[in-house]
């Protein structure tokens, strides 16, 4: 081999070894939250956090501060990177009061604020770290009826089969029970929809049956926003079937689409006809193996 090439590799090897040694001794633990800041971060959150708030740590791989959190603080999302500004706005429109950002410094916070167009309410320094209370600056949507919040007020939840036979689900205080098996219900949960932390309704469909969730439009809504998605376990299933989603208003379909078995949150906004009364959200699947399916959304003016 050419002498020059072997010399180059020898020099690269020496340089690489020195670079590696210096990096691992001095710089490999350069980021994240300082250990002494972690109790301070937790102290602020323990004092200021209210139920219905959500916390976004950034960087999301250093959870040392959670060691000092009080019980009851459970809504922490490690998926800020996956959100869009609109989806952050949706959080505030979906029952979340305040967004808390725990960052390792001002620079990172400014980047987040800019990216998501956030409105800073208050900032709390914690050593080098920074805890910020904020909200989305996306114009607040007036929600007349939130499907997750109002699931207990659904007019009816039921299953129909190919013959049209009608099997009602029964309200059990916090969820509609549609069968004996553990998964056979419609009810609220906090979940990841396409990698984003959300409040949503579990609505696992049934083989060759249609699951109907019916809301009465007593609020005079003219707009419907619907989000649907498969959960992780479902879209990783190699041969999982898609779910057919239909939204009908007083018996007339106003939205119909196929929620493919992929990692995606389908979000649709449709106008409702004048005088819309009964809104029927229907979900059908050919085979229900591992069809962990959720939806959320709301009615708006």
């Amino acid at each position: 081999m050419a002498v020059r090439a072997s010399r180059v590799f020898a020099l690269l090897f020496i340089a690489g070894a020195l670079f590696s040694g210096v990096f691992w001794i001095f710089f490999s633990d350069r980021g994240g939250f300082r250990a002494e800041d972690e109790p301070r971060i937790a102290e602020i959150l323990n004092r200021e956090y209210r139920s219905g708030d959500i916390i976004f740590p950034s960087p999301d791989w250093d959870i040392g501060f959670t060691r000092y959190l009080r019980d009851g603080i459970t809504d922490i999302s490690y998926t800020l990177h996956a959100f869009t500004p609109e989806e952050i706005g949706d959080l505030n429109n979906n029952g979340v009061n305040v967004l808390w950002f725990v960052t390792d410094g001002t620079e990172r916070w400014e980047g987040i604020r800019e990216r998501f167009g956030l409105r800073e309410i208050e900032r709390y320094p914690a050593g080098r770290a920074l805890v910020v209370k904020a909200q989305s600056s996306v114009a607040a949507t007036i929600k007349l009826l939130d499907f997750v919040e109002a699931i207990g007020e659904a007019k009816e939840v039921y299953l129909t089969d190919q013959t049209g036979a009608h099997t009602p689900c029964v309200w059990e205080g916090e969820r509609w029970r549609c069968g004996r098996q553990e998964w056979q219900y419609v009810g609220p949960q906090h979940t990841l929809m396409a990698g984003r932390w959300q409040k949503a309704l579990w609505a696992h469909p049934y083989t060759n049956k249609t699951l109907h969730v019916v809301f009465e439009n007593t609020v005079g809504a003219r707009t419907l926003v619907l989000g649907t998605a498969f959960l992780e376990r479902a879209y990783r299933e190699q041969n999982g079937h898609p779910v057919e989603v239909t939204v009908a208003v007083d018996g007339q379909a106003v939205l119909r689409y196929t929620n493919e078995s992929i990692k995606q949150r389908y979000r649709n906004r449709v106008s409702l006809p004048e005088g819309a009364h009964m809104i029927d959200l229907a979900f059908w699947v050919r085979f229900d193996g591992a069809r962990h399916f959720v939806f959320n959304g709301y009615l708006a003016p």
Partner: protein, 555 residues
Amino acid sequence: MILARFDRWDWVVSLALAALTAVVIMTTSPLVGLVRDEGFYMRAAEVTADYIQFSLDSIARGDFTAPFSDKTIRRYFEFNSEHPTFVKNLFGLSYFLFHKKWQMLSFVNSIRLVAVFFAAATVFLLYLFGRLFFSRTVAIAAPFFFFSMPHIFFHSHLACFDIPILFFWSAAFVFYAWYLVSRRAIVAVLFAIFFGWAMATKHNVYFIPPLLVLMWLISYVAQYRYLECRHRGFWGFFRAVPLPLYLIPLISLPVFFASWPWIWHDTVRRLKDYVAFHAHHVNYTNYYFGHELSVAPFPFSYPWGMTFFTTPVPQLVCFFAAIVLFSWWILSPRSGPLRRHLGLLFLVGALFPIFLIALPSVPIFGGIKHFFTGQPILLVAGLAVVCEGVCEIARGVHRVQRAVVEAVVIIIALTALIVPNIKFAQHGAAFYNALIGGVQGAADRYMQRNFWGYDILPLCPVLNATAPRGAKLFVMSYYEGLNWNSFLYLQREGFIRHDIRGTNDLHEADFAFFFYEKQNEQILYDLYREFGTARPLEISETDSVYFSVLLRRAR
């Protein structure tokens, strides 16, 4: 090309290095938790040990056929029959002898002893390859550099197939090359026997015969006009075929068949099932620069990128140097036919495992362990280039001083690798190099952080000290968490208290392990909600990046 002589001193030094490696790996075994696959293979070892006992009892009774009947084979070899049993047989034998019979080693260590053996064998192979083809300095240094790659060091502990198949893959190419240079029949026979065992270890090696044939054909055609007369024409073609290629069907296949009792009966159907299982293997989710790879096709760059960012920088330089060296052997006008053939052989042996996984249609079922099988070839050859370069730089000085310079460079480089190896002694599968910014840089870029629920040993002492008697522990075994068998074995080894009961039902758990993989964050949210707290009792982390946590239900 002339091979160096492997003399008595080489035997002494190589075996001493192999023994040293074995001791280090055995000593550090308690640092490494049981990975998911070990849960299956340790169970297979128990079943195999039962088979050995059954066979001995049958023979003692004078019944020599019972151990070979289909009924017996079904009983003892149906479990985990999607993998051949050569290494599992060794697991079972080692467990049978060193734990059950002689009680010299604990249950886990008796099975992991086989992994230790293959790590030691790999040291010997590295030395052999370095000594025969390059120099004694390279031969001595190579094992140190090889086992100071955190992924390699980590996998060397595990009772799995990955280091055995790494050994066999590289051995096949080294022995074949050795034969091409030496033309010694004994080397061809050794190649064939090793290849038979390799086939009975893992299916990776089935690509080797077509590759060897193809490379030989290219070489044969390219040098046809320079061939001796006896190697030309129809019959000459068959005379020219290297002996190892003839021995694959004659020796390797019978060795493969003999090593896997499951295929002794109903052979065709069972082989079909075996092929079908791997041809339609599910994909295991991997994160790669923020992309969730769960459904094919996967990016061609995935295994190349992962190799680039999970190999320590000095060794990575060696890899590139080796590629340049082999390319030089192939392309240099000064190369003869043999050196060209060897260059192609080693280049393919080193890079084909990565290339294969890079094909978009090939399932990704794990981390770099599935494509690091050619790294011994890259490391040894690359180290030879580096050593040659160091000597060239120190050309003006005396021969002895040159050797000292060479040794100093090697020692400095090895010293630089001490810190990352200490940091990742317990989390070797999570190592990323300085080029991506270490584990923090990898986490910032949403690379796969760790794999499959082995990383709990730092959590166990806290669990044992905190959990009330009979507490229920969520082990996450249905997902990419702790294998249920591994949980039982950890109890058996005393890592987890015996009275603690495992469960996969979050609602009834008092404590929970959570193993971080990006796609499993849902489980962490469920845990927070169910337990009413996000406060962990203990966190397993390196450089502030967490891998797993222990949680307790809020009172």
